[in-house]
């Protein structure tokens, strides 16, 4: 032992190492427990502490009198065992049979998803942008991990958007979510569930780009017009989303066979019988249609609306001051009561994750679900105004005014999504065309996003809708005050007390 320098043998040094190591490592753990974020400092502190402690332990071992300085004989077999166990862990990490015990089968991927994953034949990269501790982060991670078991083409990584600002900006990302990239395509989704992820994968890997046709010939909004009321911006937005956007006139041609979606954006004149019949025939065999109708315009397909139980009353919706668009004009802030502004949306696939973002609808008419679905299809309101809104039926007034008796009070639905599960037909009707005009598609409002969401939902493959939405439908548990007291008494008082009494009994018996 004389070979060891005196300094290393000094008890004081070892004590110092022990104390310093404990303070550093325990301190950083305590800091972490208080605020569960690992900063570089805490991490460095933790590991530095561990290193100090191990050094102290090692010094004690090698300098203790009577201790052999040779490597303990058990180290080689221990390392072998460690390697074996590591291999076992690696093996089960790769091939990991699971048992899903949840009632809703939350961890079992549905058959359509598995089929889609197995058919992927090109690399798909998923880049997730979430802040630390966001519950969607762990959900996305565990879902993607499961997805990767069925395909070798899927890779994923996660970043904090506040730290990787440039990367997030390169995808024009607003907020948090997942970006799916494959080849030249990319697709953004904030929906972290099986439907959302599978939809995104389908979107970027689809060989054929989907085609959206805008009907022309009846005074509709023009997708090539760059003026304030034109639709050229919405066309560009859809093209950026990987859609082919075209116009079609049914007066001369029949509906193209490659049409995935037909849009009627504000027909000023009624549709001739022959055109209406073509669209109706298409809709009866799984067609997808978006209809935008302004107040005072004729209904383009009244028989279709009737068949799906929709009614579009005459008049326009007037909102109260708090729920209308406010602009800054020469006379200060001016509310525009005929421009309802929405920030909350009824639950639907289209509006999922849209809550909190603003959309507004200048001069809009209500679209109401007149009768409940009698033939199996589902009609859902996707845009609703506030209860304080009302329907102005007198369109000649320069200043709208609520007339009891003549005008109805709200809330009103401005948009309805209809789906017929039997034929896979989908229809969205919105009582406004102006909301998607060039002049209103500014970055801080979600009007363009809403339009894209509607188009995405309408043009979606049938497979995605076969994936069950796995939300645990358990309603929150509400306890009556006496039930709460029961829980408090039994769990917090009675059980520990009984244990203490048993302990006292044991102690008494041993005395």
């Amino acid at each position: 032992m004389a070979g060891w320098p005196r300094l290393l043998r000094s008890r004081r040094l070892q004590g110092l190492l022990w104390t310093g190591g404990s303070v550093l490592s325990v301190g950083s753990i305590l800091l972490y427990l208080a605020q569960p974020v690992w900063t570089t400092g805490r991490l460095a502190g933790f590991w530095a502490g561990i290193v100090l402690l191990l050094t102290a332990l090692w010094l004690r071992q090698i300098t203790a009198p009577g201790m052999s300085t040779s490597t303990p004989r058990f180290l080689p077999p221990a390392l072998t065992l460690l390697a074996l166990l590591a291999a076992l862990n690696a093996l089960t990490y790769r091939y990991n049979p699971e048992l899903d015990l949840t009632r809703a089968r939350l961890f079992t991927l549905s058959e359509p998803t598995i089929q889609i994953l197995q058919s992927i034949d090109q690399p798909v990269e998923v880049i997730g942008f979430f802040k630390r501790g966001d519950p969607r982060l762990s959900r996305a991670r565990s879902l993607l991990e499961r997805y990767c078991r069925y395909t070798g083409y899927l890779t994923y990584e996660f970043h904090d958007p506040t730290q990787k600002l440039a990367l997030a900006r390169s995808f024009e990302l607003e907020g948090y979510g997942l970006v799916f990239v494959s080849g030249k395509n990319h697709y953004y989704t904030a929906t972290v569930d099986e439907q959302g992820l599978t939809r995104a994968i389908l979107h970027v890997t689809r060989a054929r780009r989907k085609t959206v046709y805008f009907l022309t010939g009846h005074g509709e909004r023009a997708i090539h017009a760059g003026d304030r009321s034109g639709y050229s911006t919405i066309r560009q937005v859809l093209e950026a989303e990987n859609y082919i956007v075209r116009t079609v006139s049914l007066a001369k041609n029949s509906l193209p066979t490659d049409a995935d979606l037909l849009v009627i954006a504000g027909a000023r004149h009624p549709l001739p019988q022959s055109e209406a019949e073509q669209i109706l025939a298409w809709m009866s065999t799984g067609g997808r249609l978006l209809v935008l109708v302004d107040p005072q315009d004729p209904l383009p397909l009244p028989e279709l609306f009737r068949a799906y139980g929709l009614s579009l009353p005459d008049g326009f919706v007037v909102e109260d001051m708090n729920n209308a668009l406010v602009t800054l004009g020469p006379h200060g802030l001016t509310p525009h009561q005929i421009i309802p502004m929405l920030t909350r949306y009824p639950p639907h696939e289209i509006t999922y994750g849209l809550n909190g973002r603003q959309t507004f609808f200048p001069y809009a008419r209500p679209v109401s679900i007149a009768s409940e679905s009698q033939s199996g299809y589902q009609a859902t309101a996707i845009l609703t105004t506030s209860p304080a809104s009302w329907l102005e039926t007198d369109t000649s007034l320069s200043e709208p005014e609520f007339t009891p008796g003549a005008d109805r009070s709200g809330p009103f639905s401005l948009g309805v999504a209809v789906e017929d599960p039997a034929t896979q037909t989908r229809l969205v009707v919105i009582g406004d065309t102006e909301f998607a005009a060039n002049q209103h598609l500014t970055p801080h409002v979600a009007n363009a996003d809403l339009f894209v969401r509607v188009v995405n939902w309408l043009a979606e493959d049938d497979t995605v809708s076969q994936i069950p939405l796995r939300v645990e439908a358990a309603p929150p548990l509400t306890l009556a005050p006496d039930q709460q007291n029961l829980v408090l008494m039994v769990a917090v008082l009675l059980v520990p007390l009984l244990v203490v009494l048993t302990g006292a009994g044991v102690w008494w018996a041993r005395r």
């Binding site: 991490l43 058990f74 221990a78 699971e98 015990l101 044991v506």
Partner: protein
């Protein structure tokens, strides 16, 4: 059957000490509060918060349960006695481990009352809760084996408890590294963390990999404990 003889002896000794009841009462007070919070704040008929809370409490309780098992015997000199007795070292360690594990099972047993309360108040997803119990028992096995290892390293009960807490808490908080980055090191550290293998059990998902993780950790810590005692026997 030396293992079970040792396990029974140690468990009986543990049950005879009032300290165990105090620790248990403290443990159940904590889990009871977690349970009450689940019902009054989360308003869900689950026990995952209870199990998660129990695991965090266990980080500190497990080393206390095991600290006496080997270091006390070393201090009082009985370890030499046992080590020279016709008992194999691994039988001794396995027996002591089983005693501690069973002891924790007894501590946990009264929480079945929560399950009964849930059944009375609502319609809980019972298989998910059972999977949570399994997960917690596996976490306990790992933490107790860490504690046993710490207890074999040091001859002072307090030092071995401190060392055990440090081991356990260190392995636990690795789970905080969830978003360091998704490169190799990040994934590796996350894999090592107890937390990332425990949460699946709470969600009602039992995967082979998670079971293998807990088994490997426990087995390796017990193996090291046996070898350390061997080493002591020789020097």
């Amino acid at each position: 059957m030396n293992i079970f003889f040792i396990a029974r002896r140690d468990l009986a000794a543990m049950l005879g000490r009032p300290a165990l009841y105090l620790i248990t009462a403290f443990f159940l007070l904590a889990t009871g509060l977690f349970f009450y919070l689940t019902l009054s704040i989360d308003r869900t008929a689950t026990l995952s918060r209870v199990f998660l809370g129990a695991a965090v409490v266990l980080l500190f309780v497990a080393p206390v349960l095991t600290m006496r098992l080997l270091s006390e015997e070393a201090r009082s000199g009985t370890l030499e006695l046992i080590l020279t007795a016709p008992v194999r070292t691994w039988e001794l360690v396995a027996g002591k481990f089983l005693a501690a594990w069973a002891g924790f099972g007894l501590m946990l047993a009264p929480t079945v009352v929560y399950l009964l309360l849930l059944v009375y108040l609502d319609r809980p997803d019972i298989p998910v809760i059972l999977s949570g119990y399994l997960g917690l028992m596996l976490v306990a096995a790992l933490l107790l084996s860490f504690g046993l290892l710490a207890s074999a390293v040091s001859s002072s009960a307090a030092a071995s408890a401190a060392l055990g807490i440090l081991f356990s808490a260190g392995a636990w908080v690795l789970g905080g590294l969830t978003l360091v980055s998704d490169n190799g090191i990040g994934r590796f550290l996350r894999y090592l963390a107890i937390q990332s293998h425990f949460v699946d059990f709470l969600d009602g998902l039992i995967s082979l990999n998670n079971v293998v993780y807990f088994f490997s950790g426990t087995f390796f810590a017990l193996y090291l404990t046996v070898q350390l005692l061997h080493y002591r026997r020789q020097v």
